[in-house]
């Protein structure tokens, strides 16, 4: 293998160099800006995590699994997984192998970083070696892999259902340019390498193709324009990259270490939020995931459009999208790159200027009697009284002495304020409740409403107090033999409440309780894919008619299991579902109360 062009340069590499330089400069600028936007503590945490061997290893593993192999996509749909990983990993291998070729055959050129990309243009094959043909074979092989991915991507444009996606995001103009440039890169590379294969050598793909073309192309005049075209589309792709969804390629490499460092979203636009906005690949998985998309009018309120509008700075739409969301968390649970749609929305609500501020400072604090176990039912369990009564009755049967701290009215846990972006108001409620709970001297706080439970877990500091959802507590009582369950003839399907399942990761204990007191069936979409009941307090602007559609969709999913009745572990889900359900909806506490001695 010899260097064919003495200067090691041809003007056709200029578009590529321009694009590459631009992307590099932009990414460095963005990286510095984002790091400066982080708070001092977060920045310190981030840098420390980079040198921690454990997180560093996790970062590398995650980058390979998520960015190159797209393991999550494979699990979701193998065809979708193959399409993404073939392009990502194939392209990665082409770049790596290109560098190996340069190091092996023309080591003096390694400082020219366009060389690995356009290697086949600059070299001539002097002698055939095993080493050379193996590398050429691998180059052709990975090019074929990428081309197969591109072909699938083209099919996906017209037939997304084959890839398990009912709906995809509508591409914006800049995304369309990026998409067509990306599609053009690899066929042009194939053509360019084919045309020079008789000079630089080729393998099973470029070799025979070169022979075919040479049968009717009389001269070599066409190969330089093809390399030009290849370089130009690369340049175009890189120039639009920072403004298109393809920004997710570099951004994800920053998001992964930030996530592993344990950073949280703290600002409406800056820092981690900006990284997540950049990382959104506009795949549109969140559109099918979103319970609101049962109504066509709400499709443009999914997370993919939120990130797009934040990039555009369209304040009106950002506000609309942020307010409408139920905060059910399903888009976040299914997101391939980990964009935290609900958290980003809450931050948008928090920067709004509310003209009226609620003042809770003069609300009296209830005296809570001293007790080891304190029960907090929350507003929703008061509005759905069967839940509170059943929890109390079950605890009594198990011989647990309990003090019901808000039986005659109590204070809100603060989560509705928090999700509405009224952080200060939420904080004052948290302070009052904390005072009440700590004064009781309790070591266990049993909570029946998943909304309150999540609030207690995430936003309260209660030293020495174990906060537990009643489903977990009852499960422990059964295991300890303090509660004896008998099985009824009914078959229940369990509806996962958003805040309990996706919010707090409690999926198994409620199922175990239902399974011990009745037959249990599963719906198609359960656990982290469960559909919000539509009653969520998270949405500030959904109308009741729109909510009704969501409720009916959630019910259809539950009906498909052919169960006689629906079980859930959230008073709000119970109230919402039972309004439109054709079969009984019961809280697990009620079922346990009926089936226990």
């Amino acid at each position: 293998m010899i260097d064919r062009i003495p200067s090691g340069f041809n003007p056709f590499v200029i578009p590529f160099l321009v694009g590459m330089g631009f992307v590099f400069a932009y990414c460095i600028y963005a990286l510095v800006k984002i790091l400066l936007q982080l708070s001092f503590e977060d920045r310190k945490k981030f840098f420390l995590s980079l040198v921690n061997p454990k997180t560093a290893a996790k970062n590398i593993r995650d980058m390979f699994c998520d960015c190159l192999f797209h393991v999550k996509l494979w699990k979701r749909n193998p065809l979708l997984g193959y399409m993404h990983s073939s392009i990502a990993f194939g392209w990665f291998m082409l770049i790596v192998l290109g560098h190996i070729e340069v190091i092996l055959f023309v080591p003096t050129r390694i400082n020219l970083f366009y060389y690995p990309i356009f290697f086949n243009f600059f070299v001539a094959e002097a002698d055939q070696t095993m080493k050379g043909s193996l590398l050429f074979f691998m180059m052709d092989f990975f090019l074929l892999v990428v081309l197969s991915g591109i072909a699938l991507a083209m099919v996906k444009r017209v037939r997304s259902r084959l890839f398990g996606m009912r709906r995809t995001a509508r591409p914006s103009l800049v995304n369309t340019i990026g998409l067509y440039a990306l599609w053009a890169i690899f066929p042009l590379r194939l053509l360019a390498e084919t045309f020079t294969a008789h000079i630089s050598g080729g393998s099973f793909l470029t070799g025979p193709a070169n022979w075919i073309f040479r049968q009717f192309l009389g001269n070599d005049l066409h190969y330089l324009p093809t390399w030009w075209a290849y370089s130009i589309v690369l340049g175009i792709f890189m120039c639009v990259l920072p403004f298109s969804r393809y920004m997710h390629i570099p951004a994800e490499m920053l998001l992964i270490p930030m996530r592993n460092a344990g950073l949280k979203i703290r600002n409406a636009r800056k820092g981690l939020t900006r990284v997540q906005v950049f990382t959104c690949p506009n795949c549109g998985v969140c559109i099918d995931a979103c319970p609101m998309s049962v109504s066509k009018e709400n499709i443009k309120d999914c997370t993919v459009y939120l990130t797009r509008q934040i990039r555009r700075g369209n304040e009106k739409r950002i506000a609309e999208i942020s307010d409408k969301c139920l905060l059910c968390g399903k888009c976040e649970a299914l997101c391939q790159v980990g964009v935290q749609g609900p958290e980003i929305r809450i931050q948008q609500r928090a920067i709004r200027d509310y003209s009226i501020r609620q003042d809770f400072s003069d609300i009296a604090v209830n005296e809570v009697r001293k007790s080891h176990v304190v029960y907090f039912s929350g507003c929703m369990s008061q509005l759905v009284p069967s839940v509170g009564r059943s929890v109390e009755s079950v605890l009594k049967k198990a011989g647990v002495e309990v003090e019901w701290m808000d039986r005659d009215g109590g204070l809100c846990c603060g989560r509705p304020m928090l999700t509405a972006g009224k952080t200060e108001e939420a904080r004052s409620l948290v302070a009052k409740n904390t005072e009440m709970i700590l004064s009781s001297g309790a070591d266990t706080l049993v909570v029946s409403c998943p909304i309150c439970y999540r609030m207690f877990v995430e936003n309260y500091a209660l030293p020495g107090v174990r906060v537990v959802h009643y489903s977990v507590y009852f499960d422990e009582l059964v295991k300890a033999g303090r509660l004896h369950l008998t099985k009824s003839d009914l078959c229940y399907v369990y509806h996962d409440p958003c805040e309990l399942g996706r919010g707090c990761g409690i999926y198994d204990e409620p199922r175990r309780l239902v399974g011990q007191s009745a037959a249990i069936a599963e719906s198609d979409r359960c656990r982290k894919e469960s559909i919000c009941c539509g009653g969520s307090l998270g949405s500030l602007s959904l109308t009741f008619r729109q909510r009704e559609k969501i409720t009916r969709a959630a019910l259809e999913n539950l009906y498909a299991s052919k169960a006689d009745a629906i079980a859930t572990a959230c008073p709000l889900c119970k109230a919402t579902l039972s309004r439109f359900s054709d079969r009984p909806v019961r809280d697990i506490a009620e079922i346990i109360d009926l089936q226990s001695r």
Partner: protein, 335 residues
């Protein structure tokens, strides 16, 4: 002469049958319950003159004796056949009808769906219908010498959360009537009505309301009930807001009566689908026009009367039934 089938044997169906008999037809009434009379038959007295409901029902029953009546029978299919309708009943009878009258009425809202009011959870929470049954002489252990009684207006009516935006029209005045009746039975009891606003649109309804305040001392509190709890001795604690004084309040009562509203009758939805009739947003049948053609459906030969197209009082229903009989007569004469 062509057959006329009336689906539903409540006051609408019976009154239409009575008028059709007077016009010389012999209509066929198909009623799914075992007796004629519908919701009105389960009522004790009717506002504003305290007319016994049984008086209306027995009079109607007597006058429609010549009609063909199938009780305990449902229409299981309906289809268009050359300008006529072919109906099949679940007793095996099939009828070819020149005109069909839907007098399928409404359903009473299931109050247990508003669990915050405690129906089905707390023993002493009852509905307007439970109270009528008790007033008619039925047994009800839940009611025993109450010292205080609360009435909650608009349960499942004007409530988008419950999926019903419509006003049920009759509950305001029914609550006043029942409050007076309870006061007559238990003169020492305190009676509270919790309302959003009072819609007393009909003749003598306003007088009836003033009467309840002045002569019976019923307390009217403007504000919705937020939640209901139970005290240790089994009484009910009602939390509400008095929006006139702007203060939250708590009242203990022995019985709480929920004024369950009228909602669409979904049990006819299969029939409606077969006949290809239009449904309104509120689930009730859609009239061709809400001013001029209230009694006409989107299909020729199918007519409506009464609460199947929306909530109505008894006199309104009777008036519609009479008009529907005339519409059917004109249709058969000209058609």
């Amino acid at each position: 002469m062509k057959n006329i089938v009336i689906i539903g044997g409540g006051v609408a169906g019976m009154e239409a049958a009575r008028q059709l008999l007077a016009l010389g037809y012999t209509p066929i009434i198909v009623e799914k319950a075992n007796a004629l009379g519908g919701h009105v038959a389960s009522w004790y007295r009717l506002f504003p003159d305290m007319t016994p409901a049984s008086e209306i029902i027995s009079r109607l029953k007597k006058e429609i004796a010549p009609a063909n009546v199938f009780t305990g029978t449902k229409v299981i299919s309906i289809s268009r056949e050359k300008g006529d309708y072919s109906l099949t009943l679940d007793n095996g009878v099939s009828i070819l009808a020149g005109a069909v009258l839907f007098a399928t009425g409404f359903k009473v809202f299931d109050a247990s769906k508003k669990e915050e009011y405690g129906y089905g959870v707390y023993d002493r929470v009852i509905t307007n219908r439970d109270l009528e049954a008790w007033l008619s002489g039925g047994e009800d252990k839940r009611i025993s010498a109450p010292k205080a009684i609360g009435f909650v207006h608009c349960v499942g009516s004007r409530d988008l959360k419950a999926g019903n935006s419509q006003c049920s029209k009759v509950c305001c005045t029914t609550a006043i009537k029942q409050a007076i009746e309870m006061k007559e039975k238990f003169p020492k009891a305190e009676i509270y009505c919790f309302y959003m606003d009072l819609r007393l649109f009909g003749k003598k309804y306003e007088d009836f309301y003033i009467n309840a305040q002045r002569d019976f001392g019923v307390h009217f509190i403007r504000g919705r009930v937020s939640e209901v709890g139970e005290t240790i001795d089994g009484r009910l604690q009602v939390k509400a807001e008095d929006t006139l004084s702007g203060k939250p309040l708590k009242v203990q009562v022995d019985n709480l009566v929920l004024m369950s509203g009228m909602v669409c009758n979904q049990s006819v939805s299969e029939l409606v689908r077969q006949a290809r009739l239009d449904i309104d947003d509120d689930g009730f049948l859609r009239s061709r026009n809400n001013i001029f053609d209230i009694l006409e459906s989107n299909r020729p030969g199918i007519f409506y009367a009464g609460a199947c197209t929306g909530t109505k009082t008894v006199p309104e229903t009777l008036a519609e039934a009479r008009a529907a009989a005339l519409e059917i007569h004109n249709y058969l004469q000209n058609g």
